[in-house]
Symmetry: C2
Subunit: 341 residues, 2 copies
DNA sequence: AATGAAATTGTGAGCGTTCACATGATATTA
DNA sequence: TAATATCATGTGAACGCTCACAATTTCATT
């Protein structure tokens, strides 16, 4: 059965006693095939376990039904979750997904990731570009006409992209603390080369100022628990006094809470903490973490749908899909003690 | 520059004033090209920004330089980390990677994942099959001659695979608790359809018995923090008394520790806890978690290297590469209080 | 200078499909 | 029943490349 030679269109045709073209019609669901021959051919395909040769196919159609996702920061929760959902959405729409992880956000790294595949005739690309480093125009010229959609790029730039409204998310988090009566609110931000980190930071500041509150100190973390731990220590060692803390993501919040406890601060009694992402573990933190939830499933799914539209109609005008996060309140935040005084 | 028509071998040939075959030789690093013509052709390739058409290439060579990884349980730390390293190793060796996530471990799901791609002429596959459900023989027939390597499959089966010696890992964890003087040791295992969960469970039991200790209760979790939380509650509600707890992974350990605290138990004073995986957050748990570290980078890298060998020489005899985990001791484990009495 | 071997370059065919068109079969209408 | 429209099926060419082999050039050797 497992002969060396691959089964081709012609083998199927011979067995079904039709021309190869008719077989081609059957596998492409052409309407111009009678019911009986269609059945006969289907049977032959099944008998021979025939699989159309995609290489031959895409050689003539110039379509590969292959998408590529280039992702930076794949060790982080957001990007890795997004990739999973991108793949699943792609497969639902009949595409397979090539994944490329880049480590440095340099033009060279991206060029490498894209160039290799342009020869593969990928039909489209999804670029998870959460940090600054490469301009949109550079990407356009790199992609060489292949449609692409960006994820996690800068908010409110007119590029084909799907993003989360980080400004809104950070506002939710900060306003939540304000509403609880907190007035001394510090921040541990993500690395400021990340768009999301800057947007959250800026919005934290703006929300406080809009409420007439002077922003507390802000220190920069690296998204990891250890980084959050170190950042919180830095904050406290610098003598910062605060009852509210907005942390750039849940992992850093975990580390920060540990550092706070080491300084004898109780959560939420002494300090209320808010994170970002709502990773599955957040509900089991000590205490369970109030956090800003992001829908990575929606990002992945919508970016693929957008991309597929772009493939079908490349002339479609570029726009940015904006998704809104939501606040999940748990036990790491509580009314300010001062308020009750 | 971005003309509609793609640049072909012939375009380059015309520009370099050589035959198309010579261009082919240059891009395939054939030695039979003089230095001067090679340069001339290289220049033309650069000028025209030529990219060889992979579809045409693989149509004739029957090689795609494409690998596929089929992964189950991609939302979990181990599989997702592994995939990242598989991709990076593959790219280093000149292959691109198609990723397919399957949700149910059924023959049908795997058949779907494999069949779609066999038409793509993938050169090889890596199957992350951490749970029972599909037999090796079935995979062999599904793969239809395409070489494949399994990851996380059953220990000591003679199949081409790369696995972690879970039995050894669990022994490390359990023996560590025994060495600390603990005699009442319970377990929260992973879902028992996972090979790793069964192996760790069996080895936990065996290690205790070898030390002349009657194993405590064992309850089954679902790898999530919430699952560990629930499992620990179940354990305690059933009246289990223990000073040592082996937990199937770090996330469940997080939840379990939370549940233990809710029952007034301090860690490590009252109960010592050991996890598995050493996720980056483990060092910032409350307290920092003692855990069994697994080298997912090595798994990914070695499985790709193995696969590439198999592609070059399909006759190579199948064997199982076994990697050994190591114990990382942190503050969630301490000498048994009883011992000192 | 003639010969041959080695290096370099060129030519024809085919990989397995789809596309555009040509042909054949069947149903519809006058 | 003959003519036409409609549907079903078949044929030749092309997609862009590599393979096997043929032709040409180069250069050392007799």
């Amino acid at each position: 059965m497992n002969t060396n030679k691959r089964v081709t269109l012609h083998d199927v045709a011979r067995r079904a006693k039709v021309s190869y073209q008719t077989v081609s019609r059957v596998i492409n669901d052409s309407p111009h095939v009678s019911k009986t021959t269609r059945q006969r051919v289907a049977q032959a395909i099944k008998d021979l376990n025939y699989q159309p040769n995609q290489a031959a196919r895409s050689l003539v159609t110039r379509r590969s039904h292959l998408l590529e996702v280039v992702t930076f920061g794949s060790h982080h929760y957001g990007p890795s979750q997004t990739v999973i959902h991108v793949e699943q959405a792609a497969r639902r729409l009949g595409y397979n997904l090539i994944v490329t992880h880049i480590v440095g956000m340099t033009l060279q790294a991206i060029r490498g990731a894209i160039d290799t595949l342009s020869g593969r005739l990928v039909d489209g690309m999804i670029l998870i570009m959460p940090v600054r480093g490469v301009e949109y125009e550079e990407l356009v010229s790199l992609c060489n006409g292949i449609p692409f959609v960006m994820i996690d790029s800068q908010l409110s730039s007119i590029t084909p992209s799907v993003v989360i409204h980080q400004t809104y998310g950070s506002q939710l988090a900060t306003q939540h603390l304000i509403d609880l009566g907190h007035r001394d609110i510090c921040e541990i931000s993500g690395p400021l080369e990340w768009f999301a980190a800057v947007e959250r930071h800026t919005s934290w500041q703006a929300t406080l100022e809009a409420a007439g509150i002077t922003p507390g100190k802000s220190v920069e973390g690296d998204w990891t628990a250890r980084g959050g731990y170190d950042a919180a220590h830095r904050l406290l060692n610098e003598g910062a006094v605060f009852s509210g803390l907005v942390v750039g993501n849940d992992q850093m919040a975990l580390g920060a809470m540990r550092a706070l406890r080491e300084h004898g601060l109780r959560i939420p009694d002494d300090v209320s903490v808010v994170g970002f992402d709502d990773i599955p573990e957040a509900e089991c933190f000590e205490p369970p973490l109030t956090t800003v939830q992001q829908d990575f499933d929606a990002i992945g799914t919508q970016s693929v749908e957008y991309l597929v539209n772009l493939i079908r109609d490349p002339a479609e005008t570029a726009y940015q899909r904006v998704l809104y996060p939501s606040l999940v309140v748990r036990q790491s935040t509580a009314p300010s003690a001062k308020r009750q005084v």
